[in-house]
Amino acid sequence: MRMAQYILRRVVFAVFTLFGLSVIIFVMARVLPGDPARMAAGPRAPEWVVEQIREQLNLDKPLHVQYFLWLRDVFNGDLGYSIFTKRSVTQDVIEYLPASLELIAVAAVFQILGAFALGVLAGMYAYRWVDNAIRLFAYIGISIPAFGWAVIFQLVFAWKLDLFPVQGMLSVEAPERITGFVTIDSLITGRFDAFTDFLKHAVLPAMALAIGPMAQEARLIRSGMIDNRYKDYILLMESHGVPKRKLMFKYLLKPSAIPAVTVMGMDIASLLGNAFLVEIVFNWPGFSRYAISVMLNKDLNAIVAVVMVIGVIFIIANIIVDIIAAYLDPRIRYVERGE
């Protein structure tokens, strides 16, 4: 029951935050200089055409009316008309978002596996050479930005060593579009060649995305394990002869991983932001590349939609993380309620 209440509180809170975000970004998009109707019509269009577009986009109405009209459309699943792609923004999102989410899913897998492997290894052999090597790697991993890794990986593993494709998402014919997710579509239609081809293309961009957060989380797990290693309850179990492996992975890792898990969820959601840069380097046909294009073209409806879509994903990820953390650490549930 406590858990359900806790989740409900988070959800209500998230809905309010999203409303706030939509107001801020919507107002910013409308108030800042620039005439979107003129931009949509083109510089040489006659005034009456611009006027028509202004009416079409509701730009002639007061700001609060514009906002509520926009909000009504959003609840009907319509994010507005894009002056850049010349069609509904909703369509654009449906088309481009899956590719990004798939890339992020692969990156998340790398990130989680890598963080736990490196963190546990460093924690088990603390202050030995394994630990020192991992710590050095962690510092380097954090310091090079995702787009820097992308450029380096592309140069070394794609251009020089020719182990992976240089860019793009597929070099074979795309599977029939059913869900929009290449991995799922290729499995449904039995196109295993497309599936493996996708993975091959995804390795480098996903690694470039994953390596920074992976390094940071590995550090958190390591320091958590070192902090907890000589706590009384661990020493007690050890003295009672609990097998070392069980001790390490069940009793020591669980409390030590909590800080890393909290960060992990946020980091995975942030991948969507970093993907903005990596997708450009690898020419990945995803949402982020679309987002950059609309931003460079100042396509207002699309910019607002991009921020909102990412905001929604980020907040959902946040709630999931909080739930996992509350599950791992019962103290959180009680403290939140007890206030």
């Binding site: 935050t17 999203l18 910013m28 932001g273 840069l277 987002a291 905001g311």
Partner: protein, 292 residues
């Protein structure tokens, strides 16, 4: 001249400085971080004296020198216009540091003040108003919001600064708020209030000193992160515009010439890493200074 048995103020200051240095320098990595950060600042300030070809920083074309690999003459090679990449990277340090300096010097006072007020008046309307707005800005990955705001303002270095400033303050507000909340009911604060201290005095004289450590730590780490966001903005074309020697812009420009002319992109990317690594290590040292 100190008389035996009495301690001057100067000696006290020296002693506490010595203690801070001891805690800081216990980790050799922190000292390395300090060295890297100082070198970054020196390079940024004296770029035109250190760069072998200062005129290459801006608009300069010499096609006969274009796309040369790294050599003694051009340690990082030359770009598509024949400009010395090494010189441009040195100037890139200046733009990166300027961004971080401007952003942080606005964001820290504003963010801390708001957090202080919200934490002091905890549970009141003021607290709700400030913290809910802060939550909204924190609800989206910083890079995405910075990109969106810069694109709405129009791409330029100044607008990139404004955008990063707009979305960075809530992190300081949140940090200050958490610290203030934790000391709000401590005896020393209550005592000051009972003695009749005004709210402003309690906030600035009693509570503010407690926050200095965490804020200073975060500020040091943030120099790196602000520079990273700035580089990312110019990388996608929303920040500094060519021919400005901005590190992010240089990485982006060089990608077109991969893989044959890799040095145009790789060296600026490594320069960004050098700066971030320096301030990260320094930040860890600053954190050590204020713990225990």
């Amino acid at each position: 001249m100190a008389i035996a048995g009495r301690v001057t103020r100067r000696q006290l200051v020296m002693e506490s400085l010595r203690r801070y240095w001891f805690k800081f320098s216990r980790s050799k990595l922190s000292v390395v971080g300090l060295a890297i950060s100082l070198s970054t600042i020196v390079i940024a300030v004296f770029a035109e004296y250190l760069a072998p070809y200062p005129e290459h920083a801006g608009f300069y074309i010499s096609f006969e020198d274009a796309l040369q690999p790294p050599s003694w003459e051009h340690p990082f090679g030359t770009d598509e216009y024949g400009r010395d990449v090494f010189s441009r990277v040195l100037f890139g340090f200046r733009f990166s540091l300027k961004l971080a300096g401007v952003v942080l010097s606005i964001v820290i006072p504003v963010g801390v003040l708001l957090g202080l007020v919200a934490g002091y008046y905890r549970g009141r309307i003021l607290d709700m108003a400030i913290m809910r707005v802060a939550d909204i800005f924190i609800a989206v990955p910083p890079l995405v919001l910075a990109l969106a705001i810069t694109s709405l303002l129009g791409p330029s270095l100044v607008n990139a600064m404004i955008a990063v400033t707009l979305m960075w303050w809530p992190w300081y507000t949140r940090l200050t708020y958490n610290v203030v909340s934790s000391v709000r009911n401590e005896p020393f604060v209550i005592a000051a209030e009972l003695a009749g201290a005004k709210p402003l005095r309690v906030m600035f004289r009693e509570i503010l000193p407690v926050i200095v450590g965490p804020i200073l730590t975060k500020a040091t780490l943030d120099v790196g992160w602000v520079i990273l966001i700035g580089a990312a903005l110019s990388f996608v074309g929303l920040g500094a515009q060519p021919p400005t020697p901005d590190l992010g812009t240089m990485v982006a420009e060089g990608i077109k010439y991969m893989p044959e002319y890799w040095w145009i992109s790789i060296f600026p990317a490594l320069a960004i890493a050098y700066i971030i690594l320096g301030f990260n290590l320094l930040g860890d040292g600053v954190r050590d200074m204020f713990t225990e």
